[in-house]
Symmetry: C2
Subunit: 307 residues, 2 copies
Amino acid sequence: MVATGTTQSNQAAQFDLKGYLSVKQQQVEAALDRAFPVVYPDKIYEAMRYSLFAGGKRLRPVLCLAACDLFNGTPEMSIPTACALEMIHTMSLIHDDLPAMDNDDYRRGKLTNHKFYGEAVAILAGDGLLAYAFEHIVEETRNVSADRLLKVISRLGRAAGAAGLVGGQVVDLECEGVKDITLDTLNFIHTHKTAALLEASVVSGGILAGGSESDLQRLSRYSQAIGLAFQIVDDLLDITSTQEELGKSIGKDANVEKATYPRLLGMEESKRQAQQLIEQAKAEVAGFGEQALPLMAIADYITARKN
Amino acid sequence: MVATGTTQSNQAAQFDLKGYLSVKQQQVEAALDRAFPVVYPDKIYEAMRYSLFAGGKRLRPVLCLAACDLFNGTPEMSIPTACALEMIHTMSLIHDDLPAMDNDDYRRGKLTNHKFYGEAVAILAGDGLLAYAFEHIVEETRNVSADRLLKVISRLGRAAGAAGLVGGQVVDLECEGVKDITLDTLNFIHTHKTAALLEASVVSGGILAGGSESDLQRLSRYSQAIGLAFQIVDDLLDITSTQEELGKSIGKDANVEKATYPRLLGMEESKRQAQQLIEQAKAEVAGFGEQALPLMAIADYITARKN
């Protein structure tokens, strides 16, 4: 029996997300560790590992695994793509932190890649992670048809490139110091910088396990909503968190006159919109029944998180 | 009737390579142009186009097309992969030119990408090209089975990453200013920086058109040989060319104490080894008959080229 939306929402609140995340994160850690043995030239493999294992929450991989589970897929179908998503995400963090971009010295309380390995190796580590993501999906995925894998590869390429992460970062950089950013522009930045890869994570999990076109559209709307909510919450945390909780410089956005949701909408309206997006996201997947509880709980977690 | 090696070698010398290259290059130019319309955010698409259309000889795409032709493949099978190879090659040029890497202001007589667009956009243009390469292969290839496309994607990912271009560049940077580079290290640099993507170009053409495993091994040996010869000739040209012919700063390698073949082996021995590699390469593909003439003529062209 499929539970009603309200019942499910309560179930999602009671769902043991911490335990669920822990199991999935361990699967991802182990697979990423196996995927990156250190061989000659050691420095580049060490540099890729340095940022891959810098304490990320593995949100994108977990979303991919959860979406695959929704259609009774297995870990051997989804874990390589989950790892590839983390490689692409890590690449974008390494490159965004570079002096020519956001010029960050710390991330998650650790020196950024270029501060530790130098700029040249950091650039190359990002390139290596991006290139390997695609090879890894092809070489490691089991029990998925070649047609489905090609769809996943195309989605990931799109989400990583100028139609996704790269395009969002370009507009973000262009807007630095500009005072009259419109909400449309801010939305463009975040649908590209954040939501695109989250969407690719969720939808690729669905593709791997054979979700229908309408299932994939639901997953796409779910992930676009959590992606935007995620960014609004990020902006709010930048204002309200302590440095210890966040592990990075606080108030940096305000210092560089960066466009943020609180600046454009105010704190209260930003909170309200984030909450509304989370409700929309949960409503999209409620129809999948109990198997959607992880995705619903993850949506709740995005507004509740402290870092 | 299959011609003998010697007859074929003469035929290769008489083959109208200039006309052949011109036809293939035009196909590649047109496809690359269609692949990169300028849309919002314009700057990143313009930056990718700036380096993509900076006068490259399209050697990697042409090799892919020629290898595909060898097994009676068609352009619609090979052109998307040919374009993807040029995107990956262009990415590596843009990133290698960055101040943190080789710090070059000019390439092919034009300002390098970061001198024209700034470092941030140059880094992102490279990322965008790399990511799009994989999406483009999936979305644009026709009449090739999904299994073959996955093999091509895996090869290209490997050639672009730490096991290829990235690994070669890391060792190259580590060796800068080091006086006692061994021939093994120099070979590692160039089999990774140059030969790996040339090999992926030729072998992927063979995969797309359905070459057998032993055919692909021949193509792999052919391309490794021309790849190393290409680099030896590059090193020789750096010493002997005028700046006008080469379109970049001359004698730069010597200035920064870079390991080169002429430095390690001497001019005459370097020339002899390049010629020997070209003969080996031609012998590998001679068995394919007349359809191998373009590949043989391209091998000859590598030692004969002036820039």
